[in-house]
């Protein structure tokens, strides 16, 4: 017995022009088989026009325990949103 094949994360692009989304994972001995397995597992009904596979070990994720302070710099800047600014009455703006 040869132990377990490495784990790959699978990202599928549902249609031309849309971004790749995480679909799940597969086990495979190499990238080529990971792509084939991902196709058979996640796209049996034409759910994708493109697939990426990435070794799971290559992914670095933000830590949920530190999500508060980590994302804080983006949470306290209302002036980054258009609603922060006043527009004179009757003036049409594009939003």
């Amino acid at each position: 017995m040869s132990g377990q094949w490495p784990l790959w994360e699978v990202f599928t692009q549902p249609a031309d022009g849309s971004p790749h989304e995480h679909a799940g994972s597969v086990h495979a001995p190499d990238a080529e088989m990971a792509l084939q397995n991902a196709r058979d597992v996640y796209t049996r009904r034409g759910e994708a026009v493109s697939i990426w596979v990435v070794p799971s070990s290559a992914i670095t994720a933000s830590s949920p325990a530190e999500a508060g302070p980590f994302f804080d710099p983006g949470n306290d800047k209302p002036y980054r949103h258009p609603q922060f600014y006043k527009v004179p009455r009757g003036v049409k703006s594009e939003e």
């Binding site: 132990g3 994972s25 001995p29 597992v41």
Partner: protein, 321 residues
Amino acid sequence: MSEPTQPKGSDDPAQVAAFEARIARGETIEPKDWMPERYRRQLVRMMSQHAHSEVVGMLPEGNWITRAPSLRRKISLLAKVQDEAGHGLYIYCGTETLGVDRAELIDQLLAGTAKYSSIFNYPTLTWADMGAIGWLVDGAAIVNQTMLAHASFGPYARAMVRICKEENFHKRQGYEIMATLAAGTPAQKAMAQDALDRWWWPSLMMFGPSDKESPNSAELLRWKIKQKGNDELRQRFVNLTVPQAAAIGLHIPDPLLTLDKETGDWEFGPIDWNEFMQVISGNGPCNRERLAARRKAHADGAWVRDAAVAHAAKDAARSAA
């Protein structure tokens, strides 16, 4: 098989409280989030049993692929069984996010120490059983999985969403088989009725014991792994299925079945939980056969897995050179 109980107080009470507040707010728990050890263990238990059920569930139907009555039926059954393999993989993949290896789970299945749905330990005696399984077994699975698509654990819920999209085809191909047989010759209709007679009660058992008797139900509900109890789901399935049987002229094998006009529920007779306990503890008609078939398939595939590893190693060495 009883779960070892977690010694009380091993999780930090403040963290448990924060976790339960998240559950109460309807938030989704992701693999790297803090979770009580008991929540993690319940998920591993439930998800691995679910994944095993998908895999073992291929066997009773695989039995009929080469004997399907037409090419149309054959390609449908083949595609359905292939979907079930996919379902097993989606859920194993979700379970692995909790820090267990799929290989470890499969070893438990092959060793006979893991549970899977009791329904797959019944034999598939006639072609009509392919109809009954798609209609009733996948029908029951849809009721259960639609609820699980709202599970508090993200990877489980997402696997269920994916699965639910595929299950309607399974149910409809089964119901079509039943409807066709029921509208056929007297012998064909008798075959359909016989399949319904044999699969009806085991299908009701698929939802598990009554919540009052189910050791895990309260905890699963409290943590919103499940949103509805076993009895409520079973009732929903019965209410959906009784009119479907009537529509194709088949008879549900329950003399006590009556419509409660006030609630709109179809009241059904008592379930033989003794039979359920027998089957779940390994003494159903096909338990040994199913495990033997899985073990043989796993052993027969060993050379393919080994060859793939050898090929990958050779390729890597070549491109390094």
